[in-house]
Subunit: 185 residues, 2 copies
Amino acid sequence: MPDSSEPEKWVKQDTELHADCRVFRILKSRFSHPARNEKGDFFILDAPDWVTVVAITPNDEVVTVNQFRYGIEALSLEVPAGMVEPGEDPLNAGIRELREETGYTGTDPKLLGWVYPNPAIQNNKCYVVAITGVERNTPVVWDDHEEIQTRLIPVKNIPSMLANGAFTHSLSWCAFQMYFQKYSL
Amino acid sequence: MPDSSEPEKWVKQDTELHADCRVFRILKSRFSHPARNEKGDFFILDAPDWVTVVAITPNDEVVTVNQFRYGIEALSLEVPAGMVEPGEDPLNAGIRELREETGYTGTDPKLLGWVYPNPAIQNNKCYVVAITGVERNTPVVWDDHEEIQTRLIPVKNIPSMLANGAFTHSLSWCAFQMYFQKYSL
């Protein structure tokens, strides 16, 4: 029968760099389990925090981006997203990523919440920022290899598009879920 | 101003193993961009497909699991989840992971959908399976290093718990979102 007591926390003993992969690093960390006197090595994807942005135009459209994703070797429709720079406020990171990827700018960003992309193997958070009243008024600034198509989608169409598989990125799902939690349709 | 045309798809040229990390591998793949005659190396987290399970008891409680997660070095409350074995049907994987992690079993699983955990750097899917009428009637079978506390939570409490940060795993968020899309409260 399942144990109903709270599990013991493992204690990290040591960490070494296992692989440097540019936008993330793989660490090999040695953990010990005090109560069991057990040890184990675990691989951790070490990445900066990320931010996703739900940006809404004055016409109640969401600013979405369509781009090639190397993991799945296909185009993927998502909300704008990126890395939070060292020392950067997640709200400013959201404004910056939206501007760089799409040319849209807005003020008064709101932090809707955050999730761990994958607490089992990653150590970073993904913040979710909402920005309303956004307008396209600056040139895009794409990173090397970025090539991004911007699409405006009526907010009211998002739930059926989620149900129909138009969005498949788990972190875009979380962003929309937090947005609709706060701003019901 | 943003480009409104659909981005070009890169073409994979070559892949090599960069690091073997037991529950995943890091691949280094060389891609080319036909239109730009450009090449680039990208690191991909290669993992089997995953499955998350929304399991509901006859008393309208969700079966959740609380366990230590090495990525965040803390306990994490989540829906049961795991890897789909090679050749295994995601529905059967959901039944198996639920049984192994919690001792609960159920029949008539339903596939609610799937997401890509991270299409930018990972190549796998995460399926979401709903199983109703589950009962605890088998011993748990934990993997090495697993130590899992099972908690039953009334389904009606889940939305407020999501809003209050009781669940922080992005894939548990997606699982609940798909469940409530299909079975409104």
